[in-house]
Point group: none
Chain length 221, copies 2
DNA sequence: TCCCACATAGTAGAATAGTACCATTTTTAT
DNA sequence: ATAAAAATGGTACTATTCTACTATGTGGGA
């Protein structure tokens, strides 16, 4: 049986920088298994292209005006579950990557990767659904392990008392000071003082900052 | 500069089946970078060996009497954080793998993998801390995605406009209405209306609820 | 073309949050 | 036992949020 490489993958690319985008189009066309290549200036254009004729793979820049990669990805995975999404980015920050994986991105590549890796990624997402490079794999592993840490409610830096912690929880539940005071059988003054002290300790400008802290420190999940 | 392969890795193996264990010892000795190889019948014996002279890598069978791989692993990563642990198993069940990663295992291999993969895994955990094969990577990814599903069933169908999203982001940054209005060159009234509409859509009692939504829906990470 | 969603802007008043202090009692740690 | 930290309650004031409406221009979809 002869081994014949077929051009079996259509790839669309979305990036707002024309020069980069056109260069990518040319590069993609040199990949042996890539068949048709189309390009879009932003996520919105890309969605229109996909609507007309869904490709096997799309390559999306995360930073775009009009409709950025995140939003585009959300739409794509929801409406076209068979289209594999490869996200390109300059940020290797953990937050972004984790969020992208949660959304359902099939590969996550930094813009300084070698063309060979992109080619490999395209074939892998097409054949096996997901391309695992070390970048993503390390983030995932760290996340899973940190979850374990987060399960025991200890704060890293700031020393928050039990009472403060209790009140912070209730604040995060959208309770007002009055409601918290009632629930805990305390004076409103007391609750307000606790909240003020919390803001002081955490360095928050307002209650919003408290909630942010609660989420980011893992107190709330 | 000449490239010389040094035998720089000591490997200990723990498995209760003598035949398999001894065969593994022989196999390990054929690996070009493996230096000393010692073997143990169970986790307890292994820990004693490690205590005397910590190796770079240990290979542990998950199913063992006396002290099984899980318990052994817990002990090892706690007391000897520099020793890399490769877990061997017959089960590819998700639960096991996730748990092992949480505990801090550095590689997870099925017993039917090729010797070459074991060799590669040993070098990788030694040089880069963690060996990511598809088995583990897929489990991790699935876990991360399932978490997302678990924490937002009801938030999915809210339709938030671009402007609202933009303002929600700024609210989460602890900006007041006044500050947001200034930054976006809008009337304070407009910003307030957007926020009110957001609260309506989301079903929030106050700004706290908006921030919660932003975090729990993954808008903010 | 007509309608609707969206973004924009407004008024006015009630409710709540936030600032800046101080005082007392209880618990905890040295 | 004594000092420190935490929890409680207070006054007085200002700032901001929240509610409940109305209204206009614009762009996209049926």
């Amino acid at each position: 049986m002869t081994k014949k490489i077929t051009r079996d993958i259509n790839v669309y690319i979305a990036d707002d920088h024309t020069l980069f985008r056109k260069a990518m189009v040319n590069l993609l066309r040199t990949f042996s298994r890539v068949n048709e290549v189309k390009d879009a200036e932003n996520g919105k254009e890309l969605l229109e292209l996909v609507k007309k004729e869904p490709p096997q793979v799309v390559v999306v820049d995360m930073q775009m005006p009009v409709m950025d990669g995140v939003e585009t990805c959300e739409n794509l995975v929801k409406k076209y579950p068979d289209v594999k999404v490869i996200m390109l980015t300059m940020h290797d920050s953990e937050k972004y990557i984790l969020h992208m994986v949660e959304l359902g991105v099939h590969a996550f590549l930094l813009k300084n990767t070698e063309p060979e890796e992109l080619e490999h990624a395209i074939y892998t997402v097409h054949d096996k659904d997901f391309y695992h490079n070390d970048l993503v794999a390390n983030v995932l592993r760290k996340s899973v392990r940190e979850q374990l840490e987060a399960r025991r409610p200890e704060f890293s830096n700031v020393n928050i008392t039990d009472r403060e912690k209790e009140i912070l929880h209730l604040i995060c539940k959208e309770l007002t000071i009055k409601e918290i005071a009632q629930r805990l059988n305390l004076s409103e003054h007391t609750v307000r003082n606790h909240r003020t002290n919390l803001m002081e300790k955490i360095g928050a400008e307002n209650a919003i900052g408290l909630v942010r802290f609660a989420y980011e420190s893992g107190l709330i999940t």
